[in-house]
Symmetry: C2
Subunit: 143 residues, 2 copies
DNA sequence: CTCCTATTGAGACTTAGTCTCAACTCTGGT
DNA sequence: ACCAGAGTTGAGACTAAGTCTCAATAGGAG
């Protein structure tokens, strides 16, 4: 998975530097969503001397290429999710942070309808679903 | 419109203080979305001595009561939109910032389908649509 | 009018993210 | 292998967003 990130960066013509390899590995070993601060902490813990700016720069690179997506959590924080580069949406587990991807099942009809009613010319949309993943439902049913 | 905000706060049992009245008026005169910083700047310009904390506290109060909704702009900034307390979604004009509300036309089917496929128990969702409002389309067609 | 409590402003503090710049390191050409 | 130069890096200053504390203030119930 770190491999895929690096390959995609390589193809995009950016250099595969040490810090980028290390960060790609850290991202790959993360389950679910993570924040820039998480990554920074990971790097700090293993005393890789990786600067704050480098983390944000890599996340921006990855986000531009849709290898990672920015998700706004309900509490207002920003998180990142590694994901497929095709357009889709995320299900976020509010208990454990697990992420699941869902494709566009029917959203387009909704946006088209909204456009018709409002007269807007819709360019993009963002759908985020929050709930509990199957595993968390089992651990503590009907929270 | 400022009136409505104040009435709602009154009913919620919070005090109708000077700063709250002033801020409600500032919110009311805003078109479309605004950020906390906008509000702060408005207040500063009119030399109302309103503290940063007060602005955030009021926005939180209003958001809790769904009188204002937090919207995450595509560029990552947080904005607020005054709106109806019922559940709905927003169309945001990326040119002028105008906001239009759309109700739930068909989203529920989408979330239900996503839940079925993923096994998640969905608690809430957030849909934001970005595009250009009818007025901006006329001003500068096919941007 | 009074008193109690919610609320306030100031400013310190925290967190998120950006910017600058000199130093470094990939990588393609030789 | 080596070199050169362009892309990248880390440190830390800086900005913006938001939270917290606390003494002072002001609603509003009685």
């Amino acid at each position: 998975m770190a491999r895929e990130l690096l390959e995609a960066l390589d193809q995009a013509g950016v250099r595969l530097t040490g810090p980028r390899r290390e960060l790609a590995a850290l991202i790959a070993r993360r389950q679910g969503h993570f924040t820039a601060a998480d990554l920074l902490a990971d790097a700090g813990q293993r005393s890789l001397g990786i600067g704050r700016a480098t983390v944000f720069r890599l996340l921006e690179l990855l986000a531009d290429r849709n290898l990672v997506e920015r998700v706004d959590l309900p509490d207002g924080r920003h998180a990142y999710v590694p994901c497929e580069p095709s357009h889709h949406h995320h299900l976020v587990c509010v208990s454990c942070g697990a992420i699941s991807e869902v494709d566009d099942c029917g959203i387009d009809a909704v946006t088209a309808e909204a456009a018709r009613r409002s007269g807007f010319e819709i360019q993009s949309h963002r759908l985020e679903l929050f709930g509990r993943c199957p595993r968390c439902q089992n651990v503590e049913p009907r929270q």
